[in-house]
């Protein structure tokens, strides 16, 4: 299994996507996002997607020359149409625009549609937090939606409807929350099927609405579905999911879950807050540090060595992989090589 330094992997990605017709800055938005997913340990959203996206460009699913376009604009808000570009291109553009607006006006919201799949939703609030803002993001899957049951129902009617939040810390990587409003992401069920493993009780139901630990019964025909977040209070996960539908889908302009069989694009709403419009930055950092210190005085639960902040596991994996490199499985590397050959990129 080949192992790459993140830098080498990025270089490969830049060359591949530029050869496929992306502008250099767009190739960078996509590749940096995917390599960061690998660094964070989310390999299923990482470099494995190089060949899938390259193939998507060949098949006409993504338009590498498209530019996101501002459809409406006001001082502290905007509506962006991704123009069918790669998802990260539209979302990075929207995040940059929201930051520019928030810096002047204190708060800004930008919505985004027609942007295919934006990838790891936490990436965009993280961009904002690294620039000193707090940010919140909602992303639905447009009219798609049959993976998650509504509370009180037994068939899938919603998508995993993720939301994300990030906030800067003094002298550390930001606090980063990136979560689906279902118990788990759908990808984890696929991974269990591929590995022939069972899934924990409480993740999913079969097509009859009965709890199951067999991941194949979730992806059978007729399919089962994932449960909304919450366990004994799953009405809360369902409520959060409906909030994401309204914010990302209805406000974002990509539409809400309606049972469409094919995914077209995420619908996205991103709100950015400029901290200094509300409070002094030093006060902000003091409050945050005091809270973190307080939380960490708790005794540990069995099986835990320390209390981590949201995002900390990912940043630790990233530091480790920055040093040790990122492993890419042979199958994925073969696929990437074939795409490179197709676009005339030397390995």
């Amino acid at each position: 299994m080949p192992r790459f330094s993140p830098k080498a992997l990025r270089e490969i990605g830049y060359r591949l996507f530029q050869a496929a017709g992306c502008r250099p800055e767009d190739a960078q938005a996509v590749v940096d996002h995917l390599v960061e997913s690998s660094l964070f340990g989310h390999d299923s959203h990482g470099a494995i997607r190089f060949y899938e996206y390259a193939q998507g460009i060949r098949d006409g699913r993504f338009n590498p020359g498209a530019r996101p376009r501002i459809v409406h604009e006001r001082p502290s808000s905007a509506v962006v149409d991704g123009g069918g570009a790669l998802g990260q291109v539209g979302a990075a553009f929207a995040a940059g625009l929201a930051m520019d607006k928030a810096r002047i006006h204190g708060v800004a919201t930008v919505t985004l549609r027609n942007t295919s799949h934006i990838g790891r939703v936490g990436a965009y609030p993280l961009m904002a937090a690294r620039a000193g803002f707090m940010a919140q993001l909602f992303a639905n899957a447009g009219h798609l939606g049959a993976q998650v049951i509504p509370f009180g129902g037994r068939e899938g009617r919603l998508s995993t409807n993720p939301m994300a939040f990030a906030a800067p810390r003094r002298g550390h990587e930001p606090l980063l929350l990136d979560m689906t409003t279902s118990v788990v992401a759908e990808g984890k069920v696929r991974v269990a099927i591929n590995r022939g493993e069972s899934i924990p009780e409480g993740w999913a139901v079969d097509s009859q609405g009965k709890s199951t630990t067999d991941p194949r019964r979730v992806k059978s025909d007729p399919p089962g579905a994932l449960l909304p977040l919450g366990g004994v209070v799953a009405h809360k996960g369902y409520g959060l999911s409906m909030m994401v539908e309204v914010m990302g889908g209805a406000m974002g302009g990509e539409g809400c879950a309606a049972g469409a069989p094919k995914f077209v694009s995420n619908g996205v709403l991103l709100t950015v807050y400029h901290i200094e419009h509300f409070t002094d930055l030093e006060t902000y950092y003091d409050e945050l540090d005091a809270m973190i210190a307080h939380i960490r005085t708790s005794r540990l639960a069995p099986g835990f060595e320390e209390i981590l902040l949201p995002g900390e596991p990912e940043f630790r994996t990233a530091r480790k992989r920055e040093k040790e490199g990122i492993e890419v499985d042979d199958e994925t590397w073969g696929q990437i090589r074939r795409q490179m050959e197709h676009f005339g990129v030397r390995g």
């Binding site: 037994r154 309204v246 309606a258 708790s298």
Partner: protein
């Protein structure tokens, strides 16, 4: 147990709070909020608080005459200091300000501090949605907090950190979500304890971090903790709790949870979006209604008759109780009577 009409409870509230020094508009805000809690079925946040608030005014913990003041003002954001007013007075002021700003600029964020206890958090996004816009609210307990364990820990270190959301529908009441980022609100554990009942598995751990259904093992020293929302994925509830702490605590200036034992005031952030600055309202309403029809097309799970929207159980309870009246326990009714008596006001007959 007397059964009292909502309108009667409102009239009593107006009289009490006006007599205690609130101006008529403020008395109305507080009273409507509390009676709506009863209507929604959340009796622990309803008129049971009349005597408690009256006592807080007498003792100077709540300032009946305080006027909320805008301490930082920008076109689409502001910071409000409620100057120790009753919580609902400060929060309603901040909500109206956010609505005014959002109707001009499409989005607005207003933070609020020094406002004592804002009550049911969902009330404020609901005000926004009834005004045709979308509202979000995040509320922490300032520096107070020792109820919820962090993910990976067994000691209570956070508060219930609620968040709320409401969005308008065409021709009917809004969708609204009002939830703690812990499994359960602290009040529900207290209610179970008073009633001598157990709580469901998955709510609590005792002082040793062991799962328990005994509410007193949370409440008596050395106390246990309520778990963050999420069950087998409770790192998500913990993450949301920290998000609420940051949005509500830092941006308002009320501060974040550091384990103080007394709550001085909630910190709050209100975020309002005006729909037609982002999308044609026709498209918005069409998508939302189509979503609702689609979600409801799932067959119900065993034990359920139908699939309800977030907020629907509360709104149904309100229709029922508006018509039939609200049962008030004897103790609360006599405390309210004592307050009326003290002010020389006649207590209206129940019924």
């Amino acid at each position: 147990m007397p059964r009292v009409q909502a309108e009667t409870l409102r009239r009593i509230g107006h009289q009490l709070f006006e007599a205690a020094g609130c101006d008529a508009a403020d008395a109305r805000v507080v009273t409507h909020h509390l009676v709506e809690s009863n209507l929604f079925g959340h009796d622990s946040h309803g008129v049971i608080r009349y005597p408690e608030y009256m006592d807080a005014i007498r003792k100077g913990r709540f300032q009946a005459k305080a006027e909320p003041r805008v301490v930082r003002d920008h076109p689409s954001c502001a910071v409000v200091d409620a100057a120790g007013a009753l919580g609902q007075v400060g929060a309603a002021f901040a909500t109206r300000l956010a609505m005014d700003k959002a109707s001009q600029h499409g989005v607005a964020a207003v933070s609020l501090r020094n406002t004592s206890h804002v009550g049911r958090v969902g009330a404020y996004p609901l005000m926004v949605a009834r005004g045709g816009m979308i509202g979000q609210a995040f509320v922490n307990g300032g520096r107070f907090g020792n109820q919820i364990s962090p993910f990976g820990g067994i000691d209570a270190r956070l508060t219930t950190d609620p968040l709320a959301f409401a969005a308008p529908r065409r021709g009917t009441e809004p969708i609204f979500l009002d939830m703690t980022t812990s499994v359960a609100a602290e009040g529900k554990v207290r209610v179970a304890s008073y009633a001598g009942k157990r709580v469901p598995e998955g709510w609590l751990i005792d002082h040793q971090g062991r799962s328990t259904t005994d509410p007193d093992s949370f409440r008596t020293e050395p106390g246990g903790a309520i778990l963050p929302l999420g069950g087998i994925a409770s790192h998500k509830g913990y993450g949301m709790s920290l998000m609420v702490e940051l949005l509500a605590g830092t941006l308002s200036g009320q501060g974040c949870c550091v384990g103080e034992s007394e709550m001085v005031s909630n910190g709050m952030l209100l975020v309002v979006h005006r729909i037609d600055h982002f999308i044609d309202p026709e498209d918005y309403y069409q998508e939302v209604e189509a979503l609702i029809r689609y979600v409801r097309s799932s067959p119900p799970a065993p034990g359920f008759k139908e699939i309800l929207l977030p907020g629907e159980p509360e709104l149904r309870s309100a229709r029922r109780r508006e018509e039939n009246g609200i049962d008030i326990d004897d103790k609360t009714w006599s405390l309210i009577g004592a307050d009326m008596d003290r002010l020389g006001l006649p207590l209206p007959a129940a019924g």
